[in-house]
């Protein structure tokens, strides 16, 4: 009578052993998504752009949380998660459609589209859709967000400080997401494995370096480099990058 009941999820042998769960760590994932969202919002500063982005962020979060739920145990949770993820995905698609058609100028569309696509990819990486793909998806996702930043820089759609902060937020998103995968792969997210403290310390250190760098860069810019010929500025920055590159790490 009980035999045909074996269709449910495979019976856990005794239900007490907590298996090692290899998922991106939660704290860093949240930090990464916040930073990614901030980057997208900083470069998309039109009213309509912001509105579309808000919708997209809601969809991205629903997609990420739903996908995370799908990977939990329990049929009800899974079904709920699948529904939420599906709804979130549809919302993101709708936002993408709006971003591709509604803003009056093409440049505004180009600023917005990569950001939304990148955020979606990032949430797919951190949910994760598949743990093995996570690192690749993170690179693609943050790459898209950064593409949005570059496009904005070219179209001059945002002032320098917003642009710098957006670039910083993109780098932080990449760093936190990569750290989430690294911690999740080595320590896991099972109950009892606490990781939040080291993740937050890591993200905080990276953020403080970035804030310091921006302060220095803006300070140098305020010194009146605008008076310098453009070529000199190029040579300065390129020289700095090559210097850093020349070091072995």
């Amino acid at each position: 009578m009980t035999a045909p009941d074996a269709t449910g999820p495979a019976a856990t042998s005794d239900g007490v052993t907590a298996p090692f769960l290899r998922r991106p760590a939660v704290a860093s994932s949240v930090v990464a998504l916040i930073a990614g969202g901030a980057a997208a919002a900083l470069v998309a500063d039109g009213t309509l752009q912001r509105e579309i982005l808000r919708v997209a962020v809601v969809g991205v979060l629903a997609f990420g949380i739903g996908t995370r739920l799908v990977r939990r145990d329990g049929t009800a949770l899974r079904a709920l998660g699948a529904l939420v993820a599906l709804g979130g995905g549809l919302v993101v698609l709708a936002a993408l459609g709006r971003a591709a058609t509604q803003p009056p100028q093409v440049t505004q569309r180009l600023e917005l589209l990569p950001g939304i696509a990148g955020l979606w990819t990032l949430s797919a990486a951190l949910a994760p859709v598949r743990f093995r793909w996570s690192r690749a998806l993170i690179d693609v996702g943050t790459g898209f967000v950064f593409l949005g930043v570059l496009v904005t820089g070219v179209t001059q759609g945002a002032d320098a400080i917003a642009l710098l902060l957006a670039a910083l937020a993109t780098i932080l998103a990449r760093d936190a997401a990569e750290n989430a995968v690294s911690v999740g792969g080595q320590i896991g997210v099972q109950r009892g494995a606490s990781t939040a403290r080291s993740e937050l310390v890591h993200a905080g250190a990276a953020a403080s370096v970035g804030v310091g760098a921006i302060a220095v860069v803006l300070g140098v810019a305020r010194l009146g480099v605008e008076g310098l010929p453009f070529g000199a500025l190029v040579a300065l920055v390129a020289g700095g990058v090559i210097l850093v590159f020349g070091s072995d790490r």
Binding site: P19, L164, I187, G188, A193, S198, A221, V237, R249
Partner: protein, 468 residues
């Protein structure tokens, strides 16, 4: 760096400060240089100064790994185990405390406690990641489900990263503690034909003994005490009773430790070789208790043979060999470890102090399985029987059992079941294994199918009703 161990409330005192460490560059900030160059290039081409500034900020991150020098981490480990001698199946709570003894803070330390190879974690997690100020402590607490036997904790693996995460120092800190769980001695089913010395193994042959075997016609020379006088009084026939002969068995407990056997149902479960080594120790104990002559053999990456002998000294030798011989090494072979590392770079489950095979015959020097088996068979006597412990993960394992059997050595196979029904591949492996079991049984080899969750003794008595 030093590693200290303080005996906790219930832990055994420390034994040495073994450690090993390796430094790994993660290269996780390398991509940012390309980003910086890209931003600068686009900024130059489009003549946009703000993009140059973006390039400069990204460039600062290429220097970030150089700002955070990794110090040599100096950690110590303290472990408390409660209760110290649990009963079978009881929960054992373990509290492992890691202290940063160095002067520098460690931004990111990931700790994996060396759970004894035979035990699975029932609550909590033996892993954690945290950051430690100088003198700071982190405590991992989790519960293990005790299994019979003596369980030694393996070294704690600590992965220390600097704040940027570009350098990862992996150290393993030996903190020797152990606990013991009373083992219910299994009743080892031995097979009938065995040596000629009198001993405790009850055979099916008639002769001297305690247990009634049969009545035979009297033959000259039969001792008068065995004549069935009542029957003589009743019928006038002289008959003599025989009893089941009791013999001394010579048994070699043989562990299949081929790389193929390092399989586990789940990453948190002990692998089959750990189960096999544990079962070998308990079977050995049971046989020594019954005064049999016991030997030990193992094959796989190395071969190990300990000839059969009786006595307490030999029992000690048996356990020492089982614990220390590289043939029974609990570290999975390298390819399996590489597979474990893929994806997130999970640290290996266990890191022993002596590291890789130090002496001459390593990976390339390993002898083929056939040569190893020939050596085992050459060392064991003609009347010796073999208890082969193998998870039967591949056809080679059942072929080995049949080779023993066809060579005239009686074999009993004890097979820990490490297959799982969770995945399609696992179900296929389970099906294949059950085919191998029935194939062996058809070939006349008794097989003990042991599910590691159950006590070994119960699985043994399931087939061993006829002996002892």
């Amino acid at each position: 760096m030093t590693a200290r161990t303080d005996g906790g409330a219930a832990a055994e005192p420390s034994s040495g400060t073994g450690r090993s460490s390796s430094v790994r560059r993660t290269g996780r900030w390398q991509g940012v240089a390309a980003v910086a160059l890209l931003a600068v290039a686009i900024g130059v081409l489009a003549k946009r100064p703000p993009l140059l500034l973006v390039g400069a900020v990204a460039g600062a991150y290429t220097a970030y790994p150089r700002l955070t020098a990794t110090s040599d981490p100096d950690l110590s480990v303290r472990r408390e185990i409660d209760p110290a001698s649990p009963a079978d199946g009881e929960r054992v709570s373990v509290r492992t405390t890691i202290t940063n003894e160095g002067d520098a803070p460690i931004a990111d330390v990931r700790i994996v406690d060396g759970v004894p190879a035979m035990l699975s974690v029932s609550d909590g997690s033996p892993r954690c990641a945290t950051s430690l100020l100088p003198g700071g402590e982190a405590t991992i607490s989790y519960e293990l489900r005790a299994r019979p036997g003596r369980h030694v904790f393996q070294p704690v693996t600590a992965l220390c990263r600097d704040a940027s995460g570009s350098v990862e120092v992996e150290t393993s800190i030996a903190a020797a503690s152990a606990f013991e769980c009373e083992a219910a001695v299994p009743d080892v089913p031995l097979r009938a034909p065995s040596g000629h010395h009198p001993g405790p193994l009850v055979t099916d042959e008639g002769g001297e003994g305690l247990e009634f075997h049969s009545v035979e016609e009297y033959q000259r020379g039969d001792p008068a005490s065995r004549i069935d006088w009542r029957r003589y009084a009743r019928t006038g026939e002289l008959t003599s009773m025989t009893f089941r002969t009791e013999r001394l068995a010579e048994v070699v407990v043989c562990v299949d430790a081929r790389p193929e056997s390092y399989r586990a149902a789940d990453a948190t479960e002990p692998h089959a070789v750990a189960l096999a080594a544990d079962a070998a120790g308990r079977i050995g104990d049971a046989l020594f208790d019954a005064n049999h002559r016991v030997g030990l053999a193992g094959f796989g990456r190395r071969v190990c043979v300990l000839p059969t002998r009786g006595g307490r000294d030999h029992a000690g030798r048996f356990h020492r060999r089982l614990a220390t011989d590289p043939a029974f090494g609990l570290n999975p072979p390298e390819p399996a470890r590489a597979a474990e590392r893929e994806g997130g770079g999970a640290p290996p489950r266990s890191v022993t102090g002596d590291g890789r095979n130090g002496d001459g015959a390593d990976a390339d020097g390993t002898v083929s399985i056939d040569a190893q088996l020939s050596r085992i068979r050459a060392e064991i006597g003609a009347d010796t029987q073999v208890v082969l412990i193998s998870p039967l993960c591949d056809d080679e394992a059942s072929r080995i059992a049949q080779r023993f059997e066809s060579g005239g050595t009686a074999v009993t196979v004890v097979s820990p079941d490490v297959t799982t029904a969770e995945t399609a591949g696992g179900r296929l492996a389970r099906l294949e294994r059950s085919h191998r079991l029935s194939g062996l049984r058809n070939a006349g080899v008794p097989v003990v199918d042991w599910t590691p969750d159950q006590p070994l003794g119960a699985a043994m008595t399931a087939i061993g009703g006829r002996s002892r």
